[in-house]
Symmetry: C2
Subunit: 533 residues, 2 copies
Amino acid sequence: MSSTRLLSPLINRNSNNGYNSLRRLGLCFGLEKQRIENFRFLCSSASAMTEASTKAEALSFETLNPNIKVMEYAVRGPLVIRAGEIEKELEKGVKKPFKEVIRANIGDCHAMGQKPITFIRQMLALVAYPELLHDSRFPEDVKQRVRTVLEGCKGGSVGSYTDSPGIEVIRRHVAEYIQRRDGHPSNWEDIVLGSGASDAIKNVIKLLICHIDCKEPGVMIPIPQYPLYSATLAEFGIRQIGYYLDESKNWGLDINELQRAVDDARKKCHPRAIVVINPGNPTGQVLTRQNIEDIIKFAYNEQLFMLADEVYQHNVYAKGSAFFSFKKVMMEMGEPYNKMELASFMSSSKGYMGECGLRGGYVEVVNMNPMVKAMYLKAISAMLCPTVLGQIVMDAVVNPPREDEPSYELYMKEKSAVLDSLKLRAEMVVKTFNTFEGYSCNPVQGAMYAFPQVKLPPGAIRAAAKADQSPDVFYAFELLENTGICIVPGSGFGQREGTFHFRTTILPQPEKLKEMLEKFQAFHQKFINKYKN
Amino acid sequence: MSSTRLLSPLINRNSNNGYNSLRRLGLCFGLEKQRIENFRFLCSSASAMTEASTKAEALSFETLNPNIKVMEYAVRGPLVIRAGEIEKELEKGVKKPFKEVIRANIGDCHAMGQKPITFIRQMLALVAYPELLHDSRFPEDVKQRVRTVLEGCKGGSVGSYTDSPGIEVIRRHVAEYIQRRDGHPSNWEDIVLGSGASDAIKNVIKLLICHIDCKEPGVMIPIPQYPLYSATLAEFGIRQIGYYLDESKNWGLDINELQRAVDDARKKCHPRAIVVINPGNPTGQVLTRQNIEDIIKFAYNEQLFMLADEVYQHNVYAKGSAFFSFKKVMMEMGEPYNKMELASFMSSSKGYMGECGLRGGYVEVVNMNPMVKAMYLKAISAMLCPTVLGQIVMDAVVNPPREDEPSYELYMKEKSAVLDSLKLRAEMVVKTFNTFEGYSCNPVQGAMYAFPQVKLPPGAIRAAAKADQSPDVFYAFELLENTGICIVPGSGFGQREGTFHFRTTILPQPEKLKEMLEKFQAFHQKFINKYKN
């Protein structure tokens, strides 16, 4: 039982000030003051709050699920809400020192001008409107795939429900893709499609909610991490066991640190699983094969279920870096490691395709206890099925045009254009940040983000304290208000005490990115000068 | 705290027989024997179970989330799994007394031969592949809507994330639709789009997980009910408070029964909300305005949050029946009722469109405490956004062609064809069932299902007991194995002790439905004769 679940005795339906209540709850559970302050952005107005809490309500702030109260999702937090407000102000003609908001807070490729892959979109148009199968402007390989997928849909329509783990033929295509990627067999029945990787991740983590020997469950996650994990653990009342990535070793995983984290945690909870994000989000590292082997051995020794977040497997840029899946490494390590339980997640939102809005994703569950798997499949069945069009995007990703097919040339051209450009942008961002005073930024070997460390001057620390904000949040708000650039402060992902970071995507198109970095530099220099003492 | 959450002391990682363990757990928590037996269908093989439980596992059946173990979703249960197996056997040439499985278990319109609405599919094709905006074969009203929606997508692409509650312009269209429907204002900021109504329903129910005065939360649901509710409550550890619908009054809601249910429940839990499904699933009734008023007064007196599942609002067939939304009735009742908290759910899966696979849905949250609403929006933000194409289907549903637009004629023709045919089928099913020996079937006033009561003869009750099945499950399995017709036994929805029902959809196309009913009748007569003593 997480401490938040034991809130009930504190709850008082007669409390007439929800905001103060929130403060109290926040303080109870060690939330930073900042988070409480941020809350104000989420409410439409203080008067609405007061009004709301005076009438008898079935669902008041006091009687709201306490896990929902404490969960956070920084990528869409108060800073991003403020960015939206600024956009509306600009539309209304409010004068600002900039003309537009640059949303570098979220890995949203198409929003930043990346063009869709024609092959994927043609597949979608044809499955949605099969009349177009008779249209000679669409290539035969697209039509062939569309026919295959529609045969797998009941009634030949994408409007019918699929099996809960997805359309069989698409699950088979995913398994074939994994087999080609890893050189090891993959069983299509181990593939479960989801509405995006997030959906699949939550559905697997949910299985772990169970007290063992009266101890609450815990899941190890990297710090810094992608906040889906902290949010999901908070929602599920699972204890977050943070292990720090080693910034001095390009955000690699240090086994001693893993050991420290799990040993500390065992005093308070039952560690059940470890999450590894590779390539890293927000940190952009690509793990070496050796590092992965060490992590697998560690997980084996500690009897941990492995969750490998591998959604950036197509996004590897750095010379000498290569993506190794946990499955491949585990299989090649042989007994007993090749019998370990693993869930590996993939998405159609990232990579070269960047189809975030279409919500395609899958998980491969390896060596899962068959009874557990049966229960898992039962649990997802109540949600019927993941979006069929999302499933079809995933199909297009794992079963792309082959060299002898008509769509191949254009597909390869578009794919390479995106990945080559991302590679250049990854280098540009790192190189530029490393020229800023007080910045140090590890190479972006993969994924879509840079996570530089910023030394903030004493004046900034004081000003932040005065504004009741943590220094990185203060910095990010100043940046937003002065330049329109929206980034996410490091505290949203976690960082070592006393260090300050932020995450920016590398997604603005090259010209825009250049402009953004110039504005950023000018802002930073001013900021440093203003707050240097 | 639900009892299932207190399992931990029972859990023993060294248990070497998961299946027996399951039996024990099942018995502990009063599961029917049937359910435990059914579980065998879910596991690939008994040997796999034994093998799996002998090695050290991070996630074993014993350490699996206990709420997941007890949740059930009958619409996709063992009977449906068996139906899938039979389909594969038929494909392989195994001889059966029938040629195909008729899936009357699930409201999956397109799977049963219903054709998609052209207007909806054209919109989808064009948003996915905007090149087609230049194609003169697509009507201008479709193009106009596509341009509007794409303007609302960041970067003009459906591949970008939207705001977590959905695209603003679509939320506005939904609000306008509600306003036209009810004749009362609807605020677009109260509209939250979801990946299907199921997603929206779970996200709202989740808010209610909170112990109050050390009592666990409870939610009132109808019996019979749609099993998404029982499954969701089980998953969340919320106590299910069943209130029986009155079969003798065409499945209406009897306020005395509501009062009985809530009074009983208050001894054990804190009732927080009431779910009403109108038109009814699985029961097909359409509530009268008076009945809705009474329910609203009851909810007011008991301080309950109202969840109105109104996904079948377009599916009303019976003469004299009309759909009234809870919102409309509540608003017209005036103070204090018009200030009550309500969530009303809608979907693009049902109605005349039947686009189940595309996962479009929305909830209108009325009078929700603004702080609670802020937390709700925060909670959904970690899942980023509902599928954009599902959002766009919802847009097409709430903003259909107007009389002066080019798509209107075809749209109306297709829409009426579906609804008129469903009306005929609703009548045909009820009329036919009422001619069967021992059957009584209320009229299907709305939705897509009939839920007849069947008096089973003593021999059948004994045979079921011998087969370790409940009689309705026994009947449904016999029907499936002998005719290929797949229905869902009443126990999956709940029914009064000692009565037996099943749910069948009215979705097979008319010719097929006629054939199905003939086969059904022949089977039933044989069954009755075989088991009469």
